[in-house]
Symmetry: C3
Subunit: 667 residues, 3 copies
């Protein structure tokens, strides 16, 4: 199977199960009751330390770790492992008061201030220095202490800043990238509108009317700022860390204001915070996120935070339906999570997160979700050894890159185009025809997969195009989506036009990208009718061996009778270009056809709609997780008998209610 296992020496359970615990918030007299309940639910670890800088260093240079020593000792005494979070997302008040130059500045030019969190500038060298200080102290004290699993650096990187330090770093970054200001002018095509710069210091930070090339580079710069900010803490921690222990960061769901994949590279473990704001989870959205995070290091991940029942920041913070908490945990495991944790144990008594879901009430009594979490705890413990060392099976890949999403998000051309939903809808169409999906940041591991889909490689370098062409010529099957190959690395339009350097491979080009009137647009082809909306590219055939799979029917005259989806055998492989935003059945059919051509067969073909299957493989063989996300119960005949790792015994037939879960072993 694809993917590498976690570092062999990583301590902890096969499936680590945890909760965020803030011992500094309540008196030590509460700890014992807390920890007993935590352990009783099957949790194996607690995360501590995050945000507690003011308690660790109440005055500059005056440290107090006694309380944390005691809290960790108490956790250890209850048989729990510990993850330490560095507290640098929440500087103490003395720091920003004494060194106001570390404060970020918002888009309107107003300095941020103490009172919430994340108000320090990621670009401030002074703040990085202060962060190094506290991280060093923590690592010295706990890096080799018993039952410490690893360190989480900071919390949920994000928040843009335009403070003077950031602006200086931006100018230096541009100078390093472009060497000459003329090169920058050429890349951004600043000849238009007399934008031409003569000095790095003239270059502004982006606002909404700015050059797309500038906007792309700013996000690249900013991604590196986060990477460099993080590296200071990694360098502080690493020398003090016992072997097999990890350094991680907890990324934030769908947030995309910098390149998570870049900052993930120096980490041992990627973890992420899975929050939602809808009445129920969309399994394709969640699956895409699981696989995207796993793809950054091609390695199993942790979910470091997920809501214990509800969030507090959405427009409507719906209560998670009963059973969904458990289904989510198992989905995560199926997608390769080896750790899974909730936020938060007890509610924060005051502060804007006071209504966030917790496993207890304000006084520490178990909340209703506690029982469901405890069921998961029992189940994870029972299944753990069967999956130890295993990784998800991924037979197909999906290509995703931040610059393309940034560029599409900034210039959608129609508010109906949702760059995120395009990815999740392609993911949702691909999942049922494959066993598992690898989400890749770039075309460097393609050869492992029989089928690769790329929903929107909008920003495409020549090197990317060459890699994709080589993959196809070497026998790969590639499916490209609309708006591919539009821009080069600088965000400039490819000449002569779309799909830029991929035109030779595809044997066709886009001669008009239509935004059709509201409503559905019909297509038709040898495999039957189809429908699209929002975006419809008109394809011009350049090579005689291109097969037209779908032609537009109607469409304001520009499209009628012209190709919208083409496919071509190239070398030993095949490339398919889908130029329109197809509706779900049409997209499923096209991707299904590509899968068939690529001889991709899922582990469980023909599952009922709404049932998701994932497969892990490791030293003890394959383990499959099936979840029913549909609202009605389903019965599934299995292709053979499996061990039922939750219910016990063997079975060749499953009945799954809504949010029902089955975990099947092959031996």
């Amino acid at each position: 199977p694809a993917g590498a296992a976690l570092p062999a020496a990583t301590a902890g359970a096969a499936l680590n199960y945890g909760v965020s615990w803030y011992p500094e918030q309540r008196g030590p007299e509460t700890w014992d009751a807390d920890l007993r309940l935590i352990r009783a639910a099957g949790f194996t670890f607690v995360r501590v330390g995050e945000f507690a800088w003011a308690r660790m260093e109440p005055r500059e240079g005056a440290y107090d770790f006694a309380w944390l020593d005691a809290a960790i000792a108490a956790a250890r005494a209850h048989g729990l492992d510990i993850v330490i979070g560095t507290p640098t997302a929440a500087p103490p008040v003395w720091l920003t008061q004494k060194y106001p130059e570390v404060l970020g500045v918002d888009a309107a030019g107003k300095p941020l201030r103490h009172g919430a969190r994340r108000h320090a500038s990621v670009a401030s060298l002074l703040y990085r220095d202060k962060a190094r200080g506290i991280a060093t102290r923590l690592a010295e004290r706990y890096g080799r202490a018993p039952r410490i699993l690893g360190f989480q650096v900071d919390n949920e990187y994000g928040r843009e800043t335009f403070d003077p330090a950031a602006v200086r770093a931006w100018h230096a970054w541009l100078a390093a990238k472009y060497k000459t200001i003329d090169a920058l002018n050429k890349a951004w095509f600043t000849v238009a509108w007399s934008q031409t710069y003569s000095d790095w210091a003239q270059v502004p930070v982006p606002d909404e009317r700015d050059n797309p090339g500038l906007a792309l580079d700013w996000l690249r710069f900013f991604s590196e700022a986060w990477r460099d900010y993080q590296q200071v803490q990694i360098d502080a921690i690493r020398p003090h860390l016992a072997p097999g222990r990890f350094i991680t960061h907890n990324y934030t769901g769908r947030y995309d204001n910098f390149d998570f994949g870049l900052t993930a590279q120096p980490l041992d473990l990627v973890s992420w915070d899975w929050y939602f704001g809808e009445p129920v989870v969309d399994p394709a959205d969640a699956g895409f996120l699981h696989d995207m995070y796993r793809g950054f290091l091609d390695r199993n991940v942790w979910v470091m935070e997920t809501a214990a029942g509800n969030t507090n920041w959405a427009e409507r913070n719906y209560t998670e339906p009963k059973g969904e908490l458990r289904a989510k945990a198992w989905q995560a495991v199926g997608h390769g999570a080896d750790g899974y944790a909730f936020w938060v144990w007890r509610p924060t008594l005051n502060g804007i997160e006071q209504f966030h879901g917790a496993l207890t009430d304000a006084g520490g009594r178990p909340a209703p979700v506690y029982a469901e979490a405890a069921q998961v705890g029992r189940e994870l413990a029972g299944v753990g050894e069967a999956v130890r060392g295993s990784v998800p099976v991924a037979d197909v890949a999906l290509l995703h890159d931040y610059p393309s999403r940034w560029a599409l998000r900034r210039m959608t051309m129609t508010r109906d185009y949702d760059a995120w939903k395009v990815f999740t809808s392609w993911y949702g169409a691909l999942k049922p025809v494959a066993t598992g999906i690898a989400v890749l940041r770039g075309p460097d591991r393609l050869a492992r997969y029989k089928l690769v889909v790329a929903p929107a490689l909008h920003v495409m370098t020549a090197a990317d195009a060459a890699a994709l062409s080589a993959y196809v010529r070497g026998g790969g099957h590639l499916v490209l989506g609309p708006r591919s190959g539009v821009k080069d690395e600088s965000g400039s339009l490819w000449e002569p036009g779309q799909p830029g350097p991929l035109a030779a491979l595809i044997g066709a080009h886009v001669d008009q990208a239509n935004i059709p009137p509201p409503g559905a647009l019909a297509l038709d082809g040898p495999a039957g009718p189809a429908a699209a909306s929002i975006w419809a590219e008109r394809l011009a055939i350049d090579a005689p061996d291109v097969e037209v799979r779908l032609r537009y029917v109607g469409g304001d005259g520009w499209l009628d009778g012209l190709p919208g989806v083409v496919s071509r055998k190239v070398g030993k492989g095949r490339v398919t270009y889908i130029g329109a935003l197809l509706d779900t059945p049409s997209l499923r059919r096209e991707i299904g056809a590509a899968a068939t051509a690529a001889q991709v067969v899922p582990q469980f073909p023909g599952l009922p709609d709404g049932v998701e299957a994932t497969t892990r493989e490791g030293p003890r063989g394959r383990v499959h997780v099936l979840v029913n996300w549909g609202t009605t119960p389903v019965t599934i005949g299995l292709p053979r008998a499996y061990r039922d790792l939750l219910a016990g015994g063997t079975t060749d037939r499953l009945t799954l209610p809504r949010f029902g879960v089955a975990v099947l072993g092959e031996r």
Copy 2:
């Protein structure tokens, strides 16, 4: 009956009827025609002076009251009484130009400036001093002059400011309240996110991401700032005021950025400005406002402004339907208004209020609403003596406090929860089963009422809880709504959980507060099925004698079969806890059941839907006002014969068209 009469010596008509008149805006040659028309419509008073600072003090220290003397004399000559408004809501340009430090500062940090109104900071001691100056001059000149009814201080307090004087006062206020910064940290639970402060001056003014405790305290501080700002003018006026004359302030409808009740305490008379922005008035909304304002001093109020036909600031400034103006005036009287006045006599020729409804056109010709206003004038004069000295009968009470509303407004958890609408919907369900409602600011007059409902006592002190418990144990009937007892005085969650210090009384607690998916949620119980939406608390029974009135049916598994409404006999009384946002019929049924248990019987049982009855009682007995707010005519059989104070004669049967009004005397 409950409630105290107005100060006995208050001059004026039994029912004062007035209009805002700005003699400074048009030449004296227009006054006579204006005043004749005003008097002809039955108006008994004009309000003058408000906003005219630039005319009263055109240059610093140079006063000119000759024009106002003349205008007041003219009004007097036409038989009109006068209310003087101090002009401090609109400083003259010389003041803010010479003393720019008096200007407020908006949330973005930008100073306010001359050109509209309300741009001075309520916290500026210098501005208070200037306000004292002009108020003193006015009081000296008119405090004992003939036919002056009283003084209105300033106009429609409001508008937040974050100027340096306000910030300094905020820090001083915190120091006075908390004594030590540790006490503040504890109250606000700043241990979370390392927010811990070490000095008062570090505490920011609130923005949307700030600590809820800070936000609550800011609004308390701000309420006191308004109180102190007002007190300066009260102290300036009082020594010069003849006995029996009032000092009032005109509050603004539903505005709630400070605690109106607090600032009302030193006033003789509460008055308020009743503006609306909907196509038609919601009588429950209006009734709640009437009774809320009356509750501040437990004393009859005035409506100091209401639109003469339309507003100018709403998204859609609908024209008030014919008849509604009259119906509103009588509703006000029924709820205890002894004064009622329109804004404005003539339209302002220019300025952003130029399209506001007025009783004349720009040239002073009567507008169509003039005739309807004149009908009201005749009617008020005819009924006046029958109600002189009377106050509304209130047999039940509704508890309302600003901190709870502030906290719920800030952290709704779902945008479908509208804290204001919760109050008005409870008011609307309670009104038909009672004779009259007292809206109370706190639980200090409970014993007067057989039934007390508290729609959302979200922020609850231990003392409040004790008072409520004593009330019930002493024989009171208490109905609590969802989201009660969640927070303590600092906005921190009560431990162990909701309903905090009320749990012992209720014998149950909330173990999960659900935000269910969109749509209706079913409940069922001995009294039949019910429905709820938006908010649904799951109740856990702690005492054996708790009766379950409604259980959830369905609801994503968390709620199914569990109690949503419970009731319990405690001592000589009864407490009922309603944990869900019930729909109107269900809420009416629950409140109706509580009223029956409390032996509350309305003056006119079984009125048709849409007909509102109010009752005043005084030296001349009871007078009842019935208004048909429904869109179709109704016929009502009365329980006995009444004197018909509008139509004359006696009647035991009424027919009321839409907006029809009857005023019935018992003798």
Copy 3:
């Protein structure tokens, strides 16, 4: 026919057809291929130079025109004429870096900055001086060069600024207008709210809560600032310009933040940029714009830019349906355009306009719209001589002025009232009953027209009213719409009330302006029932000879039975006042009745719905353009036989598909 022809000596084709070409953006090696394709499509000119300041003057005082000389020579060599755009909408970076005082300031007080365009202040004398410099150089070099048609000054004036230079100019403007501050106070009625100013420098720039009089004057001041800014360049260019060549500016569609008509006065030619953001063009909206721009100088105009297929800035940048590009070009010609040009030839490779429609792809290959544009090119060339020197026939007029629209836009009183749509709906109702419409800026050319409609003369001077009265008394037919005659020149309400100085003419006045509840309001009259919504004025009859055309039926009691539309014969003419926003059929009927009374007969009576006819008349007789904007084909019987200038031959019957066009000659 009404209207004057273009300056006789204007060079160029009868119908100039062009495209924006940016030779500075691509290497000279691309020019020849570009220009060959441009010429092949029938284009007769290119516009160059706009935005290229950084290339023309790369360092202060160092000019480089060699590249532009070469590009112009190349265009000339391909038989193309040239329009030169001055580049002052996009200052080079050295300018704003060295002279930051030229930067504009936004409403929040933040200085604009380099990186987009239009960031210099229109009020900066220094910037005007720099603009004079570059315009002078361009005029010296190209003013007499071969094939130069003329100069476009700057690009799309607009964007407010509140920089110190603008504020100083504003105060000086006020002093010049009002002479004394008391006059200003009187005009703006600052007596309300103590706004009274004592010094010019106290007057703020407007924000949304400011005095409407101030807001009106600010826009007048700002209009003059644009005029003065422009005059500097006109004065720089004029001395160097060969006779017959024009100075123009390209105005922006519906933008209305200053008075376009004022700034148009010193131009030789008005041109405008016709952009849209809807799925399809609304022909009434477009026709209104064509005629509004033509009305500024009562002279034929050019469309200087229109999208080649799609825009890039709308919420949804729909692709223009096939055929619409051609229909639009012919509509423009019918309405008097003698020039028509596309933006842009090649897409801009990077920058926020990179996805704007273009006639080629990024590499210069013809886009699908190229063929349609080439068809138009052939047709324009074929028809050109037949229309040379002709101007549109306009038998009726529509009055439009910026102050009225500004005032209504600012104070709509209901968000359902859309001041723009009121004008276009009246235009749409008037067009079918007339041959052509003149849109006038004021009542100074009324006598030319048998029928004049004025949808919303909200701001009306006494002189305007006198001119309208004289027109009617002299035999004119005038139809006025709701909200007419409300305000005087200062934005103050007319006394005694609406319609101010027009009341004597109409013989009726508005005694109540209703905003009725949502839904339709019924009216009825001798000509049958009608319907209205949103706005409904109740009319009081003052003269015995007023005819009531429509009375309200229902309407909340205020309106029932009262007049909503009245008409009156006055002298030799007739005035009709429509007090309600009628629905389309009712409005058509009322305007149709007025046309009948005025003996206005269209050139082609009884055209099917959706078919627009326009007529030009010149030395070679009349030419008619018919366009089918409807979605279905129509067949039209013509009143006589015409020469078919597109298809050849003669015809008395047309069949027009959707977007079908016929051009008919009389001889």
